[in-house]
């Protein structure tokens, strides 16, 4: 290989690299040669760590010394459904302390499913002079005191997004800690806060931040105060209302309607807790401009929903409760031809009987009427293979398909057969499918289809499905691009897991709970695969007090370059390569 004596000077390469943002591309660049590796690592500004235990903060900092933006994810996805016990981990504190000294110019921190304390928030607020963006998605461990520190000290803050975090509400006055001369807020999302924030502080803040584009209020902000806020921020692009209920009064209505009409840029609406239908027409003036509508807290019935949705011809994303019914979805299919994403949530998830006429038919309608539909999350109580096949043929452009038939093991309601061929059709027709969640009665057959066809699949969620290890084997041996696999209550055991151990190193993580994996197999896996952390979660006590053939409760396996973690609680055991290192 001839020496490239006439290669570009570093500055030129750096400049070229600055146009390359994607991690994949930058990783490729860094493998070209030593000097490119060096230039790239000094110029990388954004780092995404999909599993905070896959690497240590020290290693990240050593390789990328000039990072401005960090995104970290902690707990496994099933933590959202209470399958991960409290205290499992996902602590961000070691990252914050390491970055506090190493990255004084850090501007952005985005966390998902992590535990962050008030101390960490205070450290953030004091360590990074140019701090701009804090996004805490489904996080916990902090209170409004921590938010007060952020408000008081982060002079350049642009974005504060609390996502669906659990925040201990000690006082609504944290919002008043933003100094009077602070005017740089662009995006504020406090929708998850259960208690009131100081409304006058909120009003003043909104009034003095001319660049505010996103404002998501919490339920405690009453409807009669909304008009005032909107009048102070007519430039808003995204709004989440508070409670959308009040006694019907013409003056409140006309103020509200006028305020909405004044928001010419509004493209996204959410909130709508406790909706009083009489106030819905206040938003009609802006419906035609809406691209995103989240009505998943709005307990209004189908006729009102239809009236609203029929006016949103430019809608791209709709989140709604099953109160919309099949009829409402028909209306959606007829009116919203630009729809890309639909999520239908259950209004009565624990009821035994259907409480609304929402069936597979609604989803079929939307798949027929909306040519751009590519992302679906749908809760329903009945499904058929025929419907799934129709949906698959209608929408080969589907990329995310998550179906939750509420009762486990529900067969095709027309034929009483398993839903194997239906889901098989989905993976066969939708060649770009990246995410899939299964439900209903399913045999090993469906996994054969998935292993054969779902070549672009990156994330698969399986519950109450399959018959034997063959099912798991099909997935692990067939899905070339699989990154995350989460399984619960399936009869999958040791054989498939051990036979496909090497596959696990090509994935981010595997979760298996209430399956048939034995403690012995976990130990073996841990010994065979030093590049994996094999963690057994069992609240019954140490697994080595039971026979090795005994199935363990929960298994979480993930690849890592930093070895076993040191912050495990008493109910988590790592199956380490060297038994002496095992912490119990």
């Amino acid at each position: 290989m001839p020496r490239m004596g006439y290669s570009f000077p570093e500055e030129v390469l750096e400049h070229v690299f600055s146009f390359i943002q994607s991690d994949e591309d930058r990783n490729a660049i860094s493998e070209v040669c030593r000097s490119w590796h060096d230039i790239e690592r000094w110029s990388r500004r954004r780092v995404f760590v999909g599993n905070c235990y896959a690497i240590s903060p020290t290693m990240v900092i050593r390789r990328f010394p000039e990072v401005r933006s960090v995104k970290l994810k902690g707990k496994p996805h099933f933590a959202d459904f209470n399958l991960v016990p409290e205290g499992w981990g996902g602590y961000v504190a070691p990252w914050i302390s390491a970055m506090a000294s190493a990255y004084p110019w850090l501007e952005e921190i985005r966390l998902k499913r992590m535990v962050i304390t008030d101390e960490s928030l205070e450290l953030i607020s004091k360590s990074f002079k140019n701090f701009k963006v804090l996004v805490l998605s489904s996080c916990e461990g902090f209170s409004t005191d921590g938010l007060a520190a952020i408000a008081a000290n982060c002079r350049n803050l642009r974005e504060l997004d609390l996502g669906e975090s659990e925040v201990e509400d000690l006082s609504g006055h944290w919002l008043s800690r933003f100094p009077d001369n602070y005017t740089s807020m662009v995006s504020l999302n406090i929708a998850c806060l259960g208690w009131e924030v100081s409304f006058s502080a909120l009003e003043r803040l909104v009034g003095r931040c001319p660049n505010l584009r996103t404002l998501r209020l919490n339920r405690a902000v009453p409807l009669d105060k909304l008009a005032n806020l909107l009048c102070r921020a007519p430039q808003l692009v995204e709004l989440g209302t508070g409670a959308y209920s009040s006694e019907l009064r013409p003056d409140v209505f006309s103020n509200l309607s006028g305020a909405f009409s004044g928001c010419k840029e509004l493209k996204s609406l959410s909130g709508f807790w406790d909706v009083v239908p009489g106030y819905l027409p206040a938003v009609y003036p802006i419906c035609s401009k809406l691209k995103s509508l989240n009505l998943s807290y709005a307990t209004i019935q189908s006729p009102e929903l239809i009236k609203l949705v029929s006016q949103c011809q430019n809608l791209q994303r709709l989140w709604v409760l099953d109160y919309i019914e099949d009829a409402g979805l028909d209306a959606l299919a007829a009116s919203c031809k630009d729809l890309r994403e639909l999520r239908v949530f259950p209004s009565d998830p624990f009821g035994q009987e259907p409480n609304v006429p929402l069936t597979e038919q609604g989803l079929v309608s939307v798949s027929e009427g909306c040519p751009k539909l590519q992302s679906v999350l749908y809760f329903c109580r009945q499904m058929s293979n025929a419907a799934l096949m129709t949906i698959a043929r209608n929408r080969p452009n589907m990329t995310r398909f998550r179906l939750c038939i509420i009762e486990p093991h529900t067969p095709d309601y027309l034929t009483l057969q398993p839903l194997d061929v239906g889901f098989g059709a989905i993976v066969e027709h939708c060649k770009d499918l990246r995410r899939l969640s299964l439900s209903g009665l399913l045999t090993d057959r469906v996994f054969e289809y998935i292993g054969t066809h779902a070549k672009k699949l990156e994330m698969l969620s399986v519950a109450f499905a399959g018959e034997s290890d063959l099912g798991l084997h099909h997935i692990l041996s067939g899905c070339d691009n699989l990154r995350k696999l989460e399984i619960r209550d399936c009869p999958f055991g040791d054989k498939a897991l051990l036979a496909n151990a090497a596959k696990l190193e090509t994935m981010r993580s595997l979760w298996m709970s209430s399956c048939s994996v034995s403690f012995g197999a976990c130990k073996l896996l841990g010994q065979k695969m030093p590049g994996l952390n094999v963690e057994v979660i069992d609240e019954r006590g140490p697994p080595d007090l039971r026979p090795e053939s005994c199935p363990i409760d929960k298994l979480y396996v993930y690849r890592t370059v930093s070895g076993p973690r040191f912050d495990m609680p008493g109910f988590v055991w790592t199956m380490a390569e060297n038994p002496a290192l095992r912490l119990s």
Binding site: N82, D169, W273, D274, F379, F464, D489, E539, R540, F571
Partner: protein
């Protein structure tokens, strides 16, 4: 927090014995035994919150499972619900907690305590009995503790021995003594609460033991 302090019960999964069905536990109002994922969560939280309550002096606004307070309650106030007709599965269907909460109604009312510089707010829908409400006051105003005196429920400031009586303003604008009407009726008609110093309790007829029969 070591594993020894934790209960070692098999998880109530979809298979096998559901020992948790027969366990006495505390639940939030409106929950049935069936809401085991909420139950499971509180089950794992219990040990943790006990530790926290001993070490911290925060008056948490969320009166959820305060073991220190609720340990003091008589047994009859523990919400023991009959098992659901069908065992519910942990984490299924996969709906997140905040979504379930969003579908519940809420009723926030202001709470004033005589002598305190600012008011607080409570969501009455979070409780299913007067005893739970008193518990919430106990939590919210950490200097107050419940005193059960002759079937009258009062609160006392342990620092100075001052007694407080819970009162409320109803829909008609009248100030009433808390505890006379059935709980749900009270929630419906209550607009705001005031913990009144006992010495100001003029004009409110003392309850005789017979009248105070059912307060929840």
């Amino acid at each position: 927090m070591s594993p020894e302090n934790r209960k070692h019960l098999p998880e109530s999964g979809s298979t096998g014995l559901n020992l948790k069905e027969t366990e006495l536990t505390l639940r939030m109002p409106g929950e049935t035994r069936g809401d085991t994922e909420i139950g499971a969560k509180s089950g794992t939280k219990r040990g943790f919150s006990q530790t926290i309550d001993l070490n911290h002096d925060r008056s948490s606004d969320v009166p959820e499972h305060d073991d220190r307070c609720c340990d003091k309650l008589e047994n009859e106030t523990l919400a023991v619900k009959p098992p659901a007709a069908k065992a519910q599965i942990v984490g299924w269907p996969p709906v997140r907690e905040f979504r379930k909460n969003a579908l519940k109604s809420f009723k926030f009312v202001k709470v004033a305590v005589d002598g305190a510089p600012f008011l607080r707010k409570l969501d009455l829908e979070m409780y299913s009995s007067y005893q739970e409400l008193l518990c919430a006051f106990d939590n919210m105003f950490s200097c107050l503790t419940i005193r059960n005196y002759l079937n009258e429920k009062k609160l006392m400031d342990t620092a100075n021995g001052v007694e407080y009586v819970p009162t409320y303003e109803d829909k008609d604008g009248d100030w009433m003594l808390v505890g006379d009407v059935p709980w749900k009726m009270f929630v419906e008609s209550c607009k705001r609460l005031r913990l009144m110093k006992s010495s100001e309790e003029i004009g409110l007829a003392p309850r005789t033991p017979q009248q105070s029969a059912s307060t929840s």
